[in-house]
């Protein structure tokens, strides 16, 4: 399992660049699909079918003026986008893209994912607090309450998967799904995980932290140029990772009807992401009290029930 250091390094490089590209084109995919869902074309001016749009956006964001407001708490204000970016990239270290291609096979990978995931809340809170603006602050607070609540449901759903696979390693979890995807025995957990994933990525119907119509842009209202790009890219890398995780945990990872390999992984990830984009452009936003009530009174009890049923099943 211990691989030479240079191998880890080039894999890290490939995964890093791959994730950045995926995030950039996820933005384009989102805009394109949004266009089709609303019977318009979406971006189609830069390059064929708008394929160069992400590059144009990146250049635009990098060339913009860096603005730091005098009333912002400078150190924390700058730390927030860094934390978001780092916390978004860290889960990539344990995701197995195929049977042999992963950076690390951690024996406690599931815990690692949850631990690293909880760090991004800090980026949001710091961004909201240090901007010294009421919109950002309200966005940050909403986001913290939402992320903490939905993290519990997500963790409980993950325990069900770990119980079935009898391991916390993601590679072992995928290997346990060779004959039957966990989607079927863990259908309750799958639904809970997917709903919690929408909340964790701050997407509609749970996008209250940024709710444009009420909070301008939420916790990153006061950020511009490269710092905004960090928030933006972080958000889409997070989305990409959620797609990968659903694939790894419930859809059998690299296994397919024939010839297992990374192509199945990416096909399934794409389908999950397409579903998430589809939902975003279909459903309206929840109200905040509905959001909290739903998490504590529906999602967590269902996750607990799933855990109980799984334990009983495994004990028999």
């Amino acid at each position: 399992m211990a691989q030479p250091i240079f191998q880890t390094l080039w894999k890290t490089g490939v995964v890093f660049l791959g994730a950045l590209t995926a995030a950039a084109y996820l933005v384009l995919a989102e805009r394109k699909f949004a266009g089709y869902f609303q019977e318009r074309y979406g971006p189609n001016r830069v390059g064929p079918f708008g394929l160069l749009q992400p590059l144009a956006d990146a250049v635009k964001l990098l060339l913009k003026e860096e603005v730091i407001f005098p009333q912002a708490s400078r150190g924390l204000y700058l730390a927030a986008p860094v934390i978001i970016g780092v916390a978004a990239l860290l889960p990539l270290a344990v995701i197995p893209f195929s049977e042999h291609f992963y950076i690390a096979d951690l024996p406690v990978a599931v815990l690692y994912l949850l631990a690293v995931g909880s760090l991004s809340t800090y980026g949001v809170l710091l961004g909201g607090w240090s901007s010294n603006s009421k919109y950002a602050l309200l966005g940050g607070l909403r986001s913290a309450a939402q992320m903490v609540s939905y993290e519990i449901a997500m963790a409980l759903a993950l325990v069900g998967v770990a119980l079935m696979a009898q391991s916390l390693s993601l590679v072992k979890i995928v290997q346990a799904q060779q004959s039957l995807w966990f989607l079927i025995p863990q259908i309750l957990g799958f639904v809970v995980f997917l709903i919690a994933a929408f909340a964790e990525t701050n997407r509609l119907p749970f996008d209250l932290p940024e709710a444009e119509s009420e909070l301008v842009a939420g916790y990153h209202t006061e950020y511009s140029a490269f710092k905004f790009a960090m928030f933006f890219v972080g958000e889409y890398i997070h989305l990409f990772i959620v797609g990968c995780l659903v694939t790894v945990l419930y859809l059998g990872g690299w296994y397919g009807p024939w010839k297992p390999g990374p192509h199945w992984f990416f096909l399934k990830t794409f389908l999950v992401l397409f579903f998430m984009i589809w939902v975003r452009w279909t459903y309206p936003r929840f109200r905040f009290d509905q959001l909290m009530r739903f998490s504590w009174k529906v999602l967590i009890p269902v996750a607990l029930l799933n855990l109980l049923l799984t334990s009983l099943w495994m004990a028999l």
């Binding site: 924390l76 024996p107 815990l111 631990a115 909880s118 800090y122 809170l125 607090w129 602050l137």
Partner: protein, 160 residues
């Protein structure tokens, strides 16, 4: 070894920041950083499970709730809470004394510091210990925590 110092020095600095910072919000953020760095020390000691649980529960749970509470009171209610840090000298003397005592006893103790090999499946061994051998103390602890939570809610909402 240099990795240890790379973690340990900022760890001490952040810990000092927790007690010395005047601003309660910053103080809590430093606490979060301190807890993450402590978890990194656990990772260096190959205690992965403990390290990630530390980040998940303390940084992601406890410290986040602290930050949340402070943000609510400070920016929204408008009440400004500053950390007083009274008794700095006494605190410094007490912590130095604890450090010296630790040094003295660890230096003269007969404890076995040799590294023992881990069990083949660490998670399994830990789980067996927690949920089979020591299941009663574990459950008693969780009941105690539950009682503490209910107690806190009752005390906070006495007026209703």
């Amino acid at each position: 070894m240099w990795i240890f110092w790379l973690i340990a020095i900022p760890l001490v600095l952040f810990a000092l920041g927790v007690v010395l910072s005047k601003n309660l919000f910053r103080s809590t953020i430093y606490l979060g950083a301190t807890l993450v760095l402590t978890a990194l020390i656990y990772l260096l000691l190959h205690a992965e499970l403990l390290g990630f649980i530390q980040i998940l529960l303390y940084t992601g749970g406890v410290a986040t709730l602290l930050v949340f509470a402070i943000m609510l009171t400070q920016r929204i209610v408008g009440e400004d809470i500053t950390q007083q840090s009274r008794g700095l000298v006494g605190g410094a003397i007490a912590s130095l004394a604890v450090l010296l005592i630790l040094f003295f006893f660890l230096g003269s103790s007969q404890l076995d510091f040799s590294v023992r090999p881990y069990p083949e499946n660490l998670n399994l061994a830990l789980g067996k210990n927690l949920f089979v051998t020591y299941v009663l103390p574990f459950e008693v602890l969780s009941v105690l925590l539950l009682a503490a939570i209910i107690g806190a809610i009752v005390m906070a909402r006495r007026d209703r």
